[in-house]
């Protein structure tokens, strides 16, 4: 059966192009245009992996969604994509500590995402 990917971004063009690419690579794709939309879709269907944009309508929308997915099922690999890694100063390898420690994503890719790289990461994470 085809592996199912949840794809979340508020940029419709990123959704369309990535979906086209993933479908042609043999994945089944569900798209969501924001955190709320994604959370709603997660209640109905559990994906094999998720690809999430870090910065959506809220500053850390991607983070909270990643947290949500890992709480639902820690075995679902999450790939974060972002156009602004260097500028946000957010570090993925270190949890911010305190009472609220973020569950880190399994991979981080810079936008614009190279499709080859995205496919490689997906294959690697889904094999594990």
């Amino acid at each position: 059966m085809n592996k199912c990917i949840l794809l979340v971004d508020d940029d419709p063009d990123f959704l369309l192009s990535t979906q086209t690419m993933l479908s042609s690579a043999g994945y089944a794709v569900t798209t969501a245009e924001g955190v709320a939309d994604a959370e709603e879709k997660l209640t109905r269907h559990r994906p094999d992996a998720a690809i999430i944009d870090l910065m959506m309508e809220e500053f850390d929308g991607g983070f909270s969604l990643c947290h949500h997915i890992k709480k639902l099922d820690p075995s679902i690999p999450v790939i974060m994509v972002t156009a602004v890694t260097s500028e946000t100063g957010l570090n993925f390898d270190v949890s911010t500590g305190g009472d609220r420690s973020w569950i880190k994503a399994d991979a981080l890719l810079a936008k614009p995402v190279r499709f080859e790289q995205l496919k490689r990461e997906l294959d690697r994470l889904l094999k594990e």
């Binding site: 990535t18 042609s24 924001g34």
Partner: protein, 381 residues
């Protein structure tokens, strides 16, 4: 700064005592920068002790005696400079010789005062130093603030230019790989979207150029008598096609004199931005009303639409650079996020203002006031 932190360094207890009496309940008034500061005083009986205290605490001002038991005042000054401490020094000298004064000033003292001095002389010297210090700090803060604003702007701009470029690159890569086979029709949507994103980028660059021109003031503003009503008619013509496609009716009404001595380009930018927004954010079969109201003082332009409207929270952010209201209703509407910020900057050039009244799902009314005297005063030689 609520208090001026002052360190008094003198080996004579009597001198420290009289300085303390003069300054400890004293408020320094600085009318030139609309500021009043109290004084917090601390004492040291030698240069060595002063340097120890300065390791632990920071001060704004040091009253430093030159003739001390061990290290001299100038020695202390040299140490301060070596440590690169941001503190202002007033030297106290018993014999105000030119030589000491020159040496002290060379070593970085701001001023000097010679013994014996009256409490009023001391207060005046401290006041001058405080005034200089505070003005210097304000200037530094302003520079820092400007630098930060500029940095933020460029950072956001970079992001705003990178996203459409990324989207276009993605589509081109898919087409290069013939991801949907060899039929050109399969790529129709990708081509349409790429063109839309390229168009958005072009609009952003055009808006940026408008904005830079306004902010830099490089382009000479050319004042002529502009009929705002005619300019509005031209702007209506500009949005006619997208409006007709969606069945949006546009009407123009006016009362009073509609001519204004102004820069034609600026008036066009204001009207084009407001009208294109009123159409873009409208519902199908909606309406746009432009009303011009002129009197001796000003011209008021109101543009009313029947569109998606704004919440109060959204309206508050609307006139800032790159402020785009992101929600499900605006997702597919292109915009640079600079249009209204430009409108606001132009209104300010005419000593006017912009405001918005809005209700979600009912519509928005934008009001722009342009004052007559602002432009006519500037156009006089």
């Amino acid at each position: 700064m609520a208090e001026l932190r002052v360190l008094v360094v003198d080996d004579e207890p009597g001198m420290r005592h009289s300085i303390k009496r003069a300054l400890s309940n004293h408020t320094v008034r600085l009318p030139e920068i609309e500021c009043e500061v109290g004084i917090q005083l601390q004492e040291a009986d030698s240069g060595e002790r002063a340097l120890e205290i300065l390791e632990e605490q920071s001060f704004d001002l040091i009253l430093l005696d030159h003739k001390l038991g061990g290290l001299t005042g100038v020695d202390v000054l040299d140490q301060l400079r070596r440590r690169e401490l941001d503190v202002m020094v007033i030297m106290i000298t018993a014999f105000a010789t030119i030589e000491t004064a020159v040496r002290a000033t060379k070593s970085g003292a701001f001023d000097f005062i010679s013994k014996p001095f009256t409490p009023d002389e001391l207060k005046e010297t401290v006041r001058k130093a405080a005034s200089h210090l505070l003005m210097q700090r304000r200037a530094r803060e302003l520079t820092e603030e400007k630098r930060r604003v500029r940095f933020d702007f460029i950072r956001v701009l970079g992001h705003e230019l990178k996203s459409p470029l990324g989207a276009i690159e993605n589509y081109l890569n898919l087409m290069k790989d013939r991801i949907s086979g060899n039929e050109l029709d399969a790529y129709e949507q990708m081509i349409t979207r790429s063109l839309a994103r390229a168009g958005g980028m072009r609009k952003l660059i055009a808006d940026l150029l408008d904005m830079t021109r306004i902010e830099a003031g490089e382009k000479k503003r050319e004042f002529t008598t502009v009929d705002v009503k005619e300019a509005a008619e031209r702007a209506v013509e500009g949005v006619k096609r997208p409006a007709e496609e969606r069945g949006i009716a546009i009407s123009l009404e006016h009362t009073g004199p509609t001519t204004l001595v102004s820069d034609r380009g600026e008036i066009d930018i204001v009207l084009n931005n407001l009208l294109s927004n009123a159409v873009k954010y409208n519902r199908d079969e909606g309406a746009v009303t432009i009303a011009l109201r002129g009197d001796d003082e000003s011209i008021t332009i109101t543009v009313r639409d029947t569109g998606i409207g704004l919440t109060e929270e959204e309206a508050a952010k609307l006139f800032q650079d790159f402020s785009r209201i992101k929600n499900a209703k605006t997702r597919d509407i292109p915009g640079s996020g600079l249009g209204l910020s430009i409108v606001k900057k132009i209104a300010e050039l005419y000593q006017g203002g912009v405001s918005v009244e809005s209700r979600p799902d009912v519509g928005s009314t934008f009001t722009i006031v342009l004052n007559r005297h602002a432009s006519s005063a500037e156009s006089q030689p």
